[in-house]
């Protein structure tokens, strides 16, 4: 299998950057997309060229490191999938594959396809946790949580922080990410104590980081590998209004 990769190359945050084309032969349909990029990098090493920087860790869809924009879609052509779960069989022999880094003013480019997603960490620092004494794990049945609530919290907790929602959003809004974190904790008894503070501070930090505001295009929930529902954003808005006016 042969494809033409058209990849964004940028030396560092300050440099301008541009697309470079690479014709890559000897790929197979069973290779993952990242393996195809590895293959291209080996070719670059063999001719003494600087390799392409891109991120990954688990390569099984759980760490959230691997996001890039592929042929106009976050994480490639499929809905609800990470880049590392994408395989070359999703492309045709001879295809041109355009690969771009996540674009958002809050995600400055570090190098090539690698962007700095610290802005998401800064949101988490404002309340994406519960304040509790650590120690041995508490008895599991000490705090009872209904099945429906547990499922709902778990669905929101599935967010892997990949940033695809920000990347695909025309406003670079981090609302889906932030809503997932807030709803996960605020719907559980353990998160209730700091619920109001959490929603107010995390949403405020989201704005301070330079993310845009949500206009409900719905692109995020389609590209989100975990299928986090956009209803979470509406729910976050409700929680925020409640916290603001009723404390």
């Amino acid at each position: 299998m042969k494809v033409i990769f058209k990849i964004w190359r940028q030396e560092n945050a300050a440099s301008k950057g541009n697309f470079e084309s690479y014709e890559v032969d000897g790929l197979t349909k069973d290779m993952s997309f990242l393996e195809a990029l590895d293959h291209l990098n080996e070719l670059l090493v063999s001719i003494n060229k600087r390799v392409i920087a891109y991120e990954y860790d688990c390569r099984e869809g759980i760490c959230g490191q691997c996001g890039v924009f592929i042929n106009g879609r976050a994480h490639g052509p499929h809905d609800h999938m990470t880049t590392c779960q994408l395989h070359m069989r999703s492309f045709e022999d001879g295809d041109t594959i355009v690969v771009e880094p996540w674009r958002a003013s809050a995600f400055p480019i570090i190098k090539d396809l690698v962007v700095d997603r610290s802005a998401l960490d800064n949101i988490i620092e404002k309340g994406g946790y519960i304040s509790a004494k650590t120690g041995t794990a508490p008895e599991a049945n000490a705090i009872l949580v209904g099945k429906e609530l547990a499922d709902k919290a778990m669905d929101a907790a599935a967010c892997i922080g990949c940033g695809a929602c920000v990347a695909t959003c025309k406003n670079s809004s981090a609302s889906l990410f932030t809503a997932a974190k807030i709803n996960h904790l605020n719907s559980l008894p353990q998160g209730k104590q700091e619920a109001s503070k959490r929603v107010l501070e995390m949403t405020r930090q989201m704005e301070l980081e330079g993310f845009g505001s949500c206009t409900f295009t719905g692109a995020c929930e389609v590209e989100c590998p975990e299928g986090i529902s956009i209803l979470n954003i509406a729910e976050m808005n409700a929680r925020r209004t409640k916290a603001k006016w009723l404390g």
């Binding site: 845009g212 509406a234 729910e235």
Partner: protein
């Protein structure tokens, strides 16, 4: 931004209610000539003389101004948040064109509102341009203003075409407003999405056909 977005949603919903009232009243215009003239003129005189309607009118002006100003500010801020876009972007695979272009649609509506106010409000309320006569009942002949405007084919086309962006804007705006204001009930939102579609079609088609009917009278 949350405050601004909520104001956009609240004023947007108020404008949506206004449109229902406005369309209901305007449907008088399609009645036979003499009935339409006397009914429409007495309706508009009643409105103009009611102190309550005066207040509602100011709320309406304020709503339009707040909606437009905050929408523009939010849109500018959102553009800043995405300083650089993608070379290739297949956004149509994950969202509707309408939802991606609310600002553009809004500006088209604004253009419409300016022309519309110049045609009617400026002439009737501000007394600009040609004077407006009285009908047989002694009411200000607003019907005649409408009738004479829509004898001009260009205005008919303009008023009809500009209802397309209005319909699109309402289709996304109505359901978006509910979510902005924190309504997150899944089945309820599915109903609201359907209602938004029906509402948008009724408004766009309703307002859109009236000029042609008046033209053909």
């Amino acid at each position: 931004m949350f405050f601004r977005k909520s104001i956009i949603a609240l004023t947007g919903l108020f404008l949506c209610i206004f449109l229902i009232v406005h369309l209901s009243a305007n449907s008088i215009l399609v009645l036979p000539e003499e009935t339409a003239r006397s009914l429409y003129n007495s309706y508009s005189t009643t409105l103009r003389e009611s102190p309550l309607i005066k207040i509602v009118a100011y709320v309406l002006y304020l709503s339009i101004i707040l909606h437009v100003v905050y929408a523009l500010l939010i849109t500018i801020n959102n553009r800043k948040a995405k300083a650089k876009g993608y070379r290739v972007n297949q956004y149509k695979e994950n969202s509707s064109w309408t939802s991606q272009n609310m600002g553009l649609l809004g500006i088209s509506i604004l253009l419409f509102i300016v022309v519309h106010l110049a045609n009617f409000w400026a002439r009737i309320k501000l007394g600009m341009g040609e004077g407006v006569g009285l009908d047989a009942n002694g009411h200000v002949d607003v019907y005649e203003v409408t009738y004479s405007l829509f004898q001009n084919g260009y205005y008919v086309v303009f008023y009809t075409l500009l209802m397309v962006p209005l319909g699109l804007h309402l289709h996304h705006g109505l359901k978006s407003a509910f979510m902005t204001l924190g309504f997150y009930h899944k089945r309820g939102l599915r109903t609201i999405a359907k209602v938004s579609l029906v509402y948008a079609i009724i408004m766009a088609v309703g307002f859109g056909v009236i000029p042609s009917i008046v033209f053909l009278k």
